[in-house]
Amino acid sequence: MDHIELSLTQSLDHCIKCNICTAACPVAAVTDAFPGPKYVGPQAQRFRHAAQPVPDASVDYCSGCRVCNQVCPTGVRIAELNARARAQMVAERGMPLRNRIIARSGLVGRLSCGPQAPLVNLTLSFAPARWLIEQVLGIHRHAPLPKASTYTFQHWFRRRKSTVAGRRPKVVYFHGCSTNYYEPHVGKAAVAVLEHLGFEVIIPPQRCCGLPLLSNGDFPAAQKHHQYNVAQLLPFVRAGIPIVGTSTSCTLTLKEEAPELLGLHGDDVRAVAAGTYDIFEFLRNLHERGELRTDFRSIERRLPYHPPCQLRAHRIGRPVLDVLGLVPGLHLDESRADCCGIAGTYGLKREKYQIAMDVGKPLFDFVQASGQNLALCDSETCRWQISGATGVETRHPIEILAEAYGVL
């Protein structure tokens, strides 16, 4: 038993059954399909055994938002228990075709992105096509799907002329699938900011971080992705070059989700985890060392900001508020909603779409009540969900920072 297994097992005994997690769980609040974190986590775990069939399928309704971990006063690692229980269920019962598709965001992205993107986007905005997809695959017809890009971020990066010259400190950018196939503008903003700060940006070959596979319970496939990424990133980490990412769920996966859920604790995996930063975490660290440029243009705006679950799971506070708080004139109103509901691929599923919309309602109300035509969020799937539900445009905070630096 490795130390993670041990800490998971031991954390069961830290549960004092106070139900704070269930009181805070945004999913249990809107549906009784999910009895709550305490029941499917520490309680049901006592009835799970590797050699016995899974006793309870309701754990599949856990969205993995980790609000339970965040509020637990005794430190029980409920979300990890649930993710592992789901993987055991998938290993036992198999995985529906729908989940196999949506869990492979790299593959889906590759197929959608490119010259064919307009056609793909048109098809996916065509109601009868979405109805058909719902009938055949079980992806809800109203679920928010991103617009594919006509070019990949990697393609853009290779073809561009770097604006920096001479010896500069290096930084590796982990762009993730969404930036590469759907939102190259996020990556462009990140590169522009990092180069403005004097870094040389390196983009090594990389695959999907594996989070959609982890959250859909396909651990063996996720492990392959993670091992590939670790192999690619390790030489840079060993050379002291930090890895930064704009997708807060990708960086969380590299830091913690993949190593912990998959039980990978080798030196290489640990080194990559310890060398990975959410981009605003990285920028805040620069600022704390007095190394962040603050030659900002003033942006006279008041914008709603939602710190997504996957960012909160880093347990690093609110680096976006800390950094964007330096921009003159800019005021961010932090959402206090627990979750947007989408939880990666959860809200795409036909049987879970309405739950996701109900979970996200307080956030949608908050964004709409702001009266602004733009909202900020660090996570791509949350942005798509917020925009889909409210009609309000959403952006990654790095895009606002690039604007403040005047580099876009």
Partner: protein, 412 residues
Amino acid sequence: MYDTIVIGAGLAGLMAAIGRAERGEKVMVLAKGHGTTHWTTGCLDLFAEVDDPIAGIIQLTDQRPHHPYALVGLTMIEQGVARFRAICEAAGYPMVGNFNRNLLLPTALGALRPTAFAPATMINGDARQLRDGRPTLIASFGVLRDFFPPLIAANLRAQGIAAEAALLALPPTGRQHDFSPVILARMFDQPDFRARVGEQLAAFVRKGGYARIGMPAILGLKHPTEVVRDLQNRAGALIFEIPTLPTSVAGMRLYHILENALLSLGGRMQLGGFVQRGEPLKETLVAVFSEAAAREQRHTARRWVLATGGILGGGIRATPEGHLRETALDLPLQTPDSRSGWFAARFLAEQGHPVFQSGVRVDRSLRPLDASGRLVYENVMVAGSALAGFDPVREGCLEGVAIATGWAAGQQ
């Protein structure tokens, strides 16, 4: 860099943070999770051993000069409680009671529990009113676990209160199972749901002539005052709430009210940040490190308030070897010398068990001291149940000490 970082999100920590934010400081509350507010009754126990809490406290501070109440003094106790009540009042959730006579409110077992201040939603359950001879109905839903009206009513009758019990039919909700106090409280926030419940209560009142109805403390999470007023109008009887087992809706309301007050003052909250160690520079605490993904997060501040709770709240933990440890900063603890001194011989010993008086010894400014009385950190203050020299549950002063010392830490 913050002016003040408060470690712990219970009553003590939130009151300290509000105090400092009101002075214009940049403040953050850093906590492992939700505070023990969610485990407690949502009332304010000042001192439960005597009828007159303030007289009891005055006597106590004479006899026990190291009791937290004695360290902060009567003025700070009264000011802290007054500020706390003003915050609740401004949130539309008045805390009713007084400093000189404890209320006696029914528990979920039908025992009578002394407390100094209670939310207005509970106040009609004061035993002095219940003993006026007019009948009281205790009512709940069968689906709510750990709250049994017949048991409560029987125990109240044994104490001379004319109480009867009824189970209400749950209005249709679209939900088949898992009716926790919080789920039910959210339903009561909805007018249609409570109208249906109100109809049933009115029918019971018509039949049984009840003057008062006691219900579990699930009457609304966001708008409890309005819910109770509405139910009283519909039922034609006074309504009072009885605290439930955790998760306590009444406790959550206090947490939300104080959290809102802090955030509206520009303070920040970071939950899920378990503080594991401090970084000292001689007698100054320079930084603390909280647990985070892949590596610790370092936090810096000029001043710190440690309000992590005692043995109950998790601020003090026992190691397998039988030592007690303060979990965040590893401060020296005042505690029985060895494990054999932790407990009295009898489980229900009147003086309680020595281990529950364990905590951090502090000076009059609430700054931590070591065993020889030397100052450990000049810029750290300790508040609430992490303090040594009192037994919060047995003495019935958990919230009182939290608010008084938290407020004091926010002022000095």
